[in-house]
């Protein structure tokens, strides 16, 4: 058994335990509980002591008894060095330390004398730590968005760290910001506009893209190679270089402040990627099926509708979902083209809320939840399709 291995084991394990406790403490602070010290020195030292004890006991006792005792010891120690905290805080600490000791229960003298054991250990902990940290960093803004929308301006200014939700106040009071956003700020209308624009974009894009993708995938014609490479090149041109000419042209044609104008632009910008994704899939459909169709006397339209479409439903749904997501989230064009509130999409409306008069932040966040929630629900529900859409189309973003 190398002394270096024991050293790294103790240091890294205890550090990991401490970081888990830190994240827990931050979460507790955000419930409005006063907590101003991480107690690094004491907790870290005690963590090291417990890790050494864990190593010494090894597999001599029942493992479950071992981890429970160690976890209990740790939470009692933490209870005594921190004062006036609710019981659920200590219970959380107990669960975290239980999880931690469960992870290191199998380490004993034998394991540490193996090759690379300290590196393996570090990797294990890094993975665990990474997962916790990544989830925390990613989910925290979403959590904040949601909770802020349930609070009132006065409470938010009183203690910016208090993110507890007071369920006792009753549902109407809790969802007050949402009622106001829908009633006074007209979000129902914006939501309808956003839905119409996004669904419209999906339908028009598919109507244009499916025949074109079929032609690129299957038919021989002059300029085919040129076309399929230019699809990708066109796709890489960003919206910002199109914005000024489109703005000038659309203002002169009177297409600004209209849903039609927005639909045209969204369709055109999503069309290249839709064609690109669909033609890749169409190529993978066996040609024999179409030849059978030709023998049966089908024309091209019949082949597309009766053979290609039913077979490529998964690809079409992932294109549809991807296009829907792009159209729903789009911001730049809606900022440029819409300046009358009766044509706003959700994204534009939220920006208008923020720029306009001092809008209380709970309304802003309620609006943000309204625009975020549908797309997240769609994403979680149709994850399989959307992920394949994202991978295929993710040259853009």
């Amino acid at each position: 058994m190398k002394i270096k291995n024991i050293f790294t084991y103790c240091l890294i394990s205890s550090l990991f335990l401490f970081s888990l406790i830190c994240i827990w403490k931050i979460l507790v602070t955000l419930q409005g509980i006063e907590l101003t010290n991480f107690n690094f020195n004491k907790l870290f030292t005690f963590g090291i002591i417990l890790c050494v004890i864990n190593l010494l006991i090894g597999k001599k006792f029942n493992l479950n008894i071992k981890i429970t005792t160690l976890a209990l010891l740790f939470s009692i120690f933490d209870y005594f060095i921190s004062i006036n905290l609710p019981i659920w805080y200590s219970f959380g600490i107990f669960l975290i330390s239980l999880f931690f000791f469960n992870n290191i229960k199998n380490y004993d003298k034998n394991f540490l004398s193996k090759n690379h054991s300290s590196q393996k250990l570090s990797f294990n902990f890094l993975t665990l730590f990474g997962i916790t940290l990544f989830s925390f960093v990613i989910l925290f803004p979403f959590y904040m968005m949601l909770v802020t929308s349930f609070k009132t301006q006065a409470l938010l200014l009183l203690n910016p760290l208090d993110f507890s939700i007071n369920f006792a106040q009753g549902l109407p009071e809790l969802f007050k910001s949402y009622f106001i956003v829908f009633k006074d700020y007209n979000f129902g209308r914006y939501m309808l506009t956003s839905t119409i624009v996004s669904l419209g974009t999906v339908i028009i894009t598919l109507i244009f893209a499916i025949p074109a993708a079929y032609a690129v995938a299957r038919l021989n014609f002059f300029g085919k190679n040129f076309l399929s490479t230019s699809i990708l090149i066109i796709y890489l041109f960003p919206a910002i270089v199109l914005v000024i000419p489109l703005y000038t042209i659309f203002s002169q044609l009177g297409l600004r402040n209209s849903i039609e104008g927005l639909l045209i632009v969204y369709t055109a910008t999503t069309l290249p990627v839709a064609i690109y994704m669909l033609q890749g899939y169409f190529k993978s459909i066996p040609k024999e099926l179409e030849e059978a169709g030709i023998i049966d006397g089908q024309n091209w339209l019949g082949i597309i509708f009766k053979i290609i479409l039913p077979l490529s439903l998964p690809a079409i749904s992932s294109v549809a979902l991807y296009v829907f997501m792009i159209a729903w989230n789009e911001f730049l064009f809606s900022l440029m083209f819409l300046d009358r509130p009766n044509t706003f999409t959700l994204s534009r409306a939220i920006q208008f809320l923020n720029v306009g008069a001092e809008t209380p932040r709970q309304y802003l966040m309620a609006g943000s939840v309204v625009v975020t929630l549908p797309i997240l629900i769609i994403f979680v529900y149709f994850e399989k399709y959307l992920v394949s859409g994202l991978t295929a189309g993710s040259v853009k973003g």
Partner: protein, 419 residues
């Protein structure tokens, strides 16, 4: 026979493609080319409105005479800068009405009042008065007269279609002292945003590629920032980072990590003391880059994870037999396997970050040292209102873009050769 079939095939193909090609051409390619046209012109936002001849119709009854009525048209040129030529006027009237005093520019024929009003200089205004008499001596219904709206038409020069060109826009773009600063900010943002997203993408993919409880859930969660609308996320971050009432600053102060609040989005520089040397870090820009990484690492993660799952397990087993440690395994097996994906990813992300507009616009609006080229397009074109300048900056972006695309397609071609 076969040539006939080929002909039909060709015709069908063109028929199927034509709508898409037409749409993409008119909304994407045509604007890119018209950018070049506009960038050589001296156009401002206010010039975009086409001058229109306008008329407001007032109906007034004449005292003691209900069979007569006076109509006043308040005519004006809507433009303060341009002339309208050859203005024509048309309005409809109910039956049985005859004008008593007709302007010599006008004609009245079968209920239609038509006038040729000639040329209107800029800011032109005139009141046109006409009195009508009812031929069957009944009372005239004001309502019916008001329900007809006059129609006007005229020709005006469209500033976008003239042949006057100027190099001034490009001169201004390049001679601007801030241009070098603009370029360096853009490259700094693009480079570090891309590298950061890829590094975190590799870390996340490496993590999720192992077996643990809740792995599929973790994969969805990691994609949240990329899927959610940028507006909502940017404003949430703005609240989170707010110096007075933001969560982050209050948290750090609460745990005594910092003494006073830091304005992460509004402070241009922060001086860091590392090992006795003073470093000037561009604070707001760094914060924006962190947001950028947070939002786009999921994409790198997705790509790299797909590649990692395709790496044969035997390679790792063989390495275990050889007694390789985890770091050696990562450096000698994983990294070479994902290198190709990373290079492609780097180019794509580089191109897209170079053009990123929304994220910076929503977080800082381009203030405190976060002005990049795309932000400059917006500010020149819409905040200052100089459309020509905005177009010239767009052209600069397109020029850089073409260089990057050239490199990217070379890279793609090279990779295709290798496979």
């Amino acid at each position: 026979m076969s040539s006939k079939l080929a002909k039909i095939e060709k015709r069908t193909a063109y028929l199927l493609i034509l709508p898409s090609v037409f749409l993409v051409f008119s909304i994407i390619l045509f604007p890119i080319f018209s950018n070049i046209w506009i960038s050589f012109k001296n156009v401002e936002l206010k010039d975009l409105r086409i001058p229109e001849p306008r008329a407001k119709k007032l109906v007034k009854s004449i005292n003691d005479n209900p069979t007569q009525i006076k109509i006043i048209y308040k005519l004006r040129n809507s433009s303060l800068t341009q002339e309208i030529t050859n203005v024509k006027f048309k309005d409809k009237y109910p039956d049985n009405l005859e004008p008593t005093n007709l302007d010599n520019r006008c004609q009245f024929k079968s209920n239609l009042l038509m006038c040729k009003l000639g040329n209107w200089p800029k800011k032109y205004r005139e009141n046109l008065e006409i009195v009508f008499q009812n031929t069957n001596n009944q009372e005239i219904s004001k309502k019916e007269i008001k329900s007809y709206k006059p129609k006007l038409s005229g020709k005006s020069q469209n500033i976008l279609l003239t042949y006057e060109f100027t190099l001034n826009n490009f001169k201004k773009v390049i001679k601007d002292k801030a241009f070098i600063d603009l370029l360096s900010t853009t490259f700094y943002y693009t480079f570090f945003g891309t590298i950061g997203a890829i590094v975190f993408g590799i870390l996340a993919a490496q993590m999720v590629n192992q077996k643990f409880f809740g792995r599929t859930f973790m994969r969805s969660v990691l994609l949240f920032p990329y899927v959610a609308p940028v507006v909502a996320l940017a404003y949430t971050w703005e609240l989170l980072l707010d110096p007075t009432s933001g969560t982050l600053n209050n948290l750090l102060i609460n745990y005594q990590i910092i003494e006073g609040p830091i304005n992460l989005l509004g402070q241009k520089y922060v001086t860091l003391n590392i090992l006795g040397f003073d470093f000037k870090l561009r604070l707001a820009l760094t914060t924006v880059i962190i947001f950028e990484i947070w939002r786009y690492f999921p994409l790198a993660f997705l790509f790299i994870l797909a590649r990692l799952q395709a790496v044969p397990k035997e390679l790792y087993e063989a390495a275990d037999v050889d007694g390789a440690n985890p770091i050696q395994k990562f450096l000698n097996i994983t990294l070479p396997q994902i290198l190709a994906v990373i290079s492609i990813l780097f180019m794509i992300r580089f191109i897209w970050n170079f053009n990123k507009f929304e994220d910076i616009f929503l977080l800082t609006g381009g203030a405190s040292g976060t002005r990049t080229l795309p932000i400059n397009v917006y500010q020149q074109g819409f905040s200052i209102g100089d459309i020509g300048m905005g177009s010239a900056v767009s052209i600069v972006i397109v020029a850089f873009l073409l260089i990057f695309m050239f490199i990217y397609f070379k890279l793609l071609g090279k990779r295709a050769d290798e496979n």
